[in-house]
Structures are given as structure tokens and as C-alpha cells.
């Protein structure tokens, strides 16, 4: 199982690149769902078949891989948007920024005072890179849905860090994090609905214009 970890994390990084480069919301949501599914395998690959790992994997799969993507796909079907409009920083520059931060994360992770068994694998750099990608999506995109995807990516990065620590972290903490995520997406869904009803579009830059 251990040799599965690096390909898994590599696939996670490639999905990061895809979400940064693609304008299609449906495809982006499906890729983030796939990332959630891959991350669900991660605790099992890292810690073997224990009850703790099974619970973590199953809850990640159900929430990140199935339930939240389902909600988001339903949302884009109802508001009938398919594509992201040209972002504040374009697709290619964000992709380049994403690749730079990923490379930076790999270099930076080498300088961190990690314990020996965490130093070798891709865990820490992947976690950092996924969080940076989430940040980039949150900052640069205009549609609220893509911003939610950014938030999900951010959480995925934290989840990868969490897997490293899952031997030490009690179950309650992880369950709490996942619950927070779900509530967060719910709240964003409600906000989304309001933005859509108010402006009949999901472009968030309208929010920054002042009313007279």
C-alpha cells in the first residue's frame, strides 16, 4: 500500500493544475470530486486497514467525493452557468503561478525541520501546493462556485496534513473539521442563492460595487 501514496499525491497535484487551467465549471467540480475520492484512499494507503483510517476514508469519500460535488453540480444546473468568465488574473498566468508555487512548495518542504519519515514522501509539499492552489482559486476567480472549489481545495490540503498526524489526532477533531466543511459549503450555497437572486448572475465583483 505504501508505494501507492506517491502516485496518489501526484494525481492530486495534477488535478490542482487542471482546476487552475480549466474554464468549465462542470469538469472542475468533477475533478475536485475525483481529488476527494483519491484523498479518501490516502489514510488507508498510509496507515493500513484500521478502524480509524476506514472512518476517515469513508467520511472523506462520502463528503468530498460524493455529497458536496453533488450539491455543486445541482447548483450549476439550476443557475445554468457552465463556464467561468475570464478571471481577474487570466487562466494561463494563474496556471503558471500554480506551477511556481508547487515547485516552491517542494523546495520549501526540504528546508522544514520535519521528522525523517515525513521528509521523504510527497506529503508536505503536496499539502502546501494544494493549499496554495485553493488560495489562488479563491483570489482570482469571479464566479462564486469556483471560489467554493478553492475553499474545498484548501480543505483538501489541510486533510493531507491531517493524514500525516492522524495517529496522534483524535477522531473527534477530524469529524469536526469535516462537519465544518459541510456547514461551510451549505452556508456558501445559501449565499450563492442570494447573490443569484439579487443580481441574476454569480459574478462576485458586483458585490464590491456600492449602492448609492
Amino acid at each position: 500500500m505504501i508505494e501507492l501514496i506517491n502516485p496518489l499525491l501526484l494525481a492530486v497535484i495534477l488535478i490542482n493544475f487542471f482546476t487552475l487551467g480549466s474554464a468549465r465549471l462542470g469538469a472542475c467540480i468533477r475533478m475536485v470530486a475525483l481529488q476527494g475520492g483519491l484523498l479518501a484512499l490516502l489514510p488507508l494507503a498510509a496507515h493500513g486497514l484500521s478502524g480509524h483510517a476506514l472512518f476517515l476514508g469513508a467520511s472523506a469519500l462520502i463528503l468530498k467525493g460524493i455529497f458536496i460535488p453533488f450539491l455543486l453540480l445541482r447548483a450549476i444546473r439550476e443557475v445554468r452557468i457552465r463556464r467561468e468568465v475570464e478571471p481577474i488574473i487570466g487562466f494561463v498566468p494563474t496556471l503558471i503561478l500554480g506551477a511556481l508555487t508547487t515547485a516552491g512548495a517542494f523546495i520549501f518542504a526540504d528546508f522544514l525541520p520535519l521528522i525523517a519519515e515525513h521528509r521523504e514522501g510527497f506529503y508536505v509539499p503536496t499539502a502546501l501546493a494544494t493549499m496554495f492552489t485553493g488560495f489562488l482559486l479563491l483570489i482570482t476567480r469571479r464566479k462564486a462556485i469556483t471560489q467554493i472549489l478553492g475553499y474545498l481545495l484548501l480543505e483538501n490540503g489541510i486533510f493531507i496534513f491531517g493524514v500525516l498526524l492522524s495517529a496522534a489526532m483524535p477522531l473527534m477533531v477530524e469529524a469536526g473539521v469535516l462537519l465544518d466543511l459541510l456547514v461551510g459549503v451549505f452556508v456558501m450555497g445559501i449565499v450563492l442563492n442570494h447573490i443569484n437572486r439579487e443580481f441574476s448572475t454569480l459574478n462576485t465583483e458586483r458585490l464590491s460595487a456600492l449602492k448609492e
Binding site: 494561463v92 496556471l95 506551477a99 515547485a103 523546495i107
Partner: protein
């Protein structure tokens, strides 16, 4: 020494000259089968070449020698480049330190002559095609160089023979396997771009606004066009040799079985290209540079992985 050089030259050139057009035939056949048709015979590209070679030359009076040089260079360059690259486990006849740069820029030379030949006709339409071809290939070039750098880092040598040497099999099983997988995908994308295959360019299209490569060779006819077609299939085989060697790094030790393994790999690759062409739609033109920048970034990332 001289005898073995002559032998490997003969094997290399025989393989290349005989089997290159077959790949196009395999691709067309696969696409036909996918669409539920019987399709043209496998040897159709050979018949096309023979038919074109029997025709006469027609040259426009506005063109100069540049126009005639295009097809000649387009045919000569893949032949030269093939001598530098190992075909499967058969080592390249000519090899020296740093030949990877020569290999990459030989194709640059061919592109320059094809583009200037297109410009030489004075047709604004062909100029458009030349512009697109040059833009896309200058975006594809970093990807090739970075993938070769990854390989150079893994083996420590700088000749293509060393890069695609027998250490690849061990490298796949080591930590570097992940970056090898990444650069395999990158090289395959470059192969599709450079040979104007479907997600990037359609070799069969004759719709003016979307053609890339096809539009540059509209004014060539007869044997000149035959040379262009033959050169294109040689180029596909030479670039395919990199992909096949990377994907199938096995060797048997006997030259005949090595050659058969290589050909089997090439045919499998051609079938795969046919499948991709059948299931994918063409990318919109503005998406192509985006995709190419994406592959460059992935190959840089692969380099970072092997450097750490």
C-alpha cells in the same frame, strides 16, 4: 567498428523508410473501425506516395528556390534526426555528447523551411498557417527540452543514446517513476502537436480557418507534396521512437527481436492515437497554447521532482 556502424545504419534506415507510412495507415484504419467503416487499406499511404511520385511538378511563377527547398529539407531532416535517436533497444548509429540539442533544433530547421516555403507563395492564407505552426511549435519546444533534461538528470549523460539507455527500466521502478510518467504524457502531447493530430490540428480538415499544418502545403503538388507527406510520416516515426522507448524500455539482446518489439510498440502507439482521434473533439484554437503551456509546466514540475 566500421562494419557494425554500417550494419546499424542499414537497420535503422530500413526500419524507418519501410515502416513509417504504415503508421498513418494504422491510424486511419483504427479511426475507420471506430466509426464502423471498413476504411482504406492499411497500405493506402504507400499507394498515395507512389501516385504522387508519378505526377509532374507544377510550380507557381511567383515562387523562388525557397519554395522548392521546403519539401527537400522536410524530408532530409527526419532522416538525419533518425540517425541520432535509438529505435527501441537498437542504439543510434551516430551519437555524441549534446546531440539532444541538435535533435531538437533539426526539427526547428525543418519548420523554418516549411514556413518560409509557405510564405514564399505570397498567399496570405498560407502565411496564416505558417504563423500558427511557428507559434505552437515554439510553445512545444520547452516541453521537449525539459523532458530531455529530466532524462539527462536521470542518466547523467548528454547523448540521446545514453538518455534512452537501459537504465530506464530501473528508473521506472525507482522514485523517479513518477516523473517518467509525467514526461511520457508530455512527450505524447508534443508528438500530437508536432504531427498535427486531432486534439490540436486535423490532418484531414480543409476548413480554412482551423487548419494549421495543412494550410502551409496547399501549393505543393506532385512529387513535392509526396516528399512532404513522406517527411511527415518519417517525423512521426522518429518522434514516436522517443515515446515508445520511454514507455517500453525492455530489451531482448538480439537485434531482430528488439526491432520487432519496437515496431509492435509503434503500432500500439498508432492504434492509441487513432483511438484518441476517434473519441476527442478538436480543441478550440485559443485553447491549444494554453494546453501547451500546461504541458511545459508539468514537465518543469517533473524536473523539480527529479532534482530534489
Amino acid at each position: 567498428m566500421l562494419g557494425s556502424l554500417a550494419l546499424s545504419l542499414t537497420i535503422h534506415l530500413t526500419l524507418l523508410l519501410l515502416f513509417a507510412p504504415l503508421l498513418q495507415g494504422v491510424i486511419t484504419k483504427t479511426k475507420a473501425l471506430f466509426a464502423g467503416r471498413i476504411g482504406a487499406p492499411l497500405l493506402q499511404p504507400y499507394y498515395d506516395l507512389i501516385r504522387l511520385m508519378r505526377k509532374g511538378f507544377v510550380f507557381s511563377r511567383t515562387t523562388t528556390w525557397v519554395f522548392q527547398a521546403g519539401p527537400v529539407v522536410g524530408l532530409a531532416v527526419p532522416l538525419l534526426a533518425s540517425l541520432l535517436i535509438p529505435f527501441g533497444a537498437l542504439t543510434a548509429p551516430i551519437s555524441f555528447e549534446g546531440d539532444l540539442i541538435l535533435f531538437v533544433y533539426l526539427f526547428g530547421l525543418a519548420r523554418f523551411f516549411t514556413a518560409t516555403a509557405a510564405l514564399d507563395t505570397g498567399s496570405s492564407f498560407e502565411g496564416m498557417g505558417a504563423v500558427r505552426e511557428v507559434t505552437f511549435s515554439c510553445l512545444a519546444e520547452p516541453t521537449v527540452l525539459f523532458t530531455l533534461l529530466v532524462l539527462a538528470r536521470l542518466c547523467g549523460g548528454l547523448s540521446l543514446n545514453a538518455l534512452f539507455g537501459s537504465h530506464l527500466l530501473d528508473a521506472w521502478h525507482s522514485e523517479a517513476g513518477a516523473s517518467l510518467g509525467l514526461i511520457l504524457v508530455c512527450l505524447f502531447v508534443v508528438l500530437l502537436v508536432e504531427n498535427s493530430r486531432i486534439p490540436f490540428d486535423d490532418p484531414n480538415t480543409h476548413l480554412e480557418l482551423t487548419m494549421i499544418h495543412e494550410v502551409m502545403v496547399l501549393d505543393h503538388s506532385g512529387p513535392a507534396f509526396g516528399m512532404i507527406l513522406y517527411g511527415a510520416s518519417l517525423k512521426m516515426m522518429v518522434m514516436g521512437a522517443m515515446v515508445v522507448r520511454l514507455a517500453m524500455p525492455w530489451q531482448t539482446g538480439w537485434w531482430l527481436s528488439d526491432a520487432l518489439l519496437f515496431l509492435a510498440g509503434l503500432i500500439a502507439m498508432a492504434v492509441f492515437i487513432g483511438v484518441i482521434e476517434s473519441i476527442m473533439a478538436r480543441l478550440r484554437l485559443p485553447r491549444v497554447p494554453q494546453m501547451l503551456i500546461g504541458t511545459s509546466l508539468v514537465s518543469i514540475f517533473a524536473l523539480v521532482l527529479v532534482l530534489r
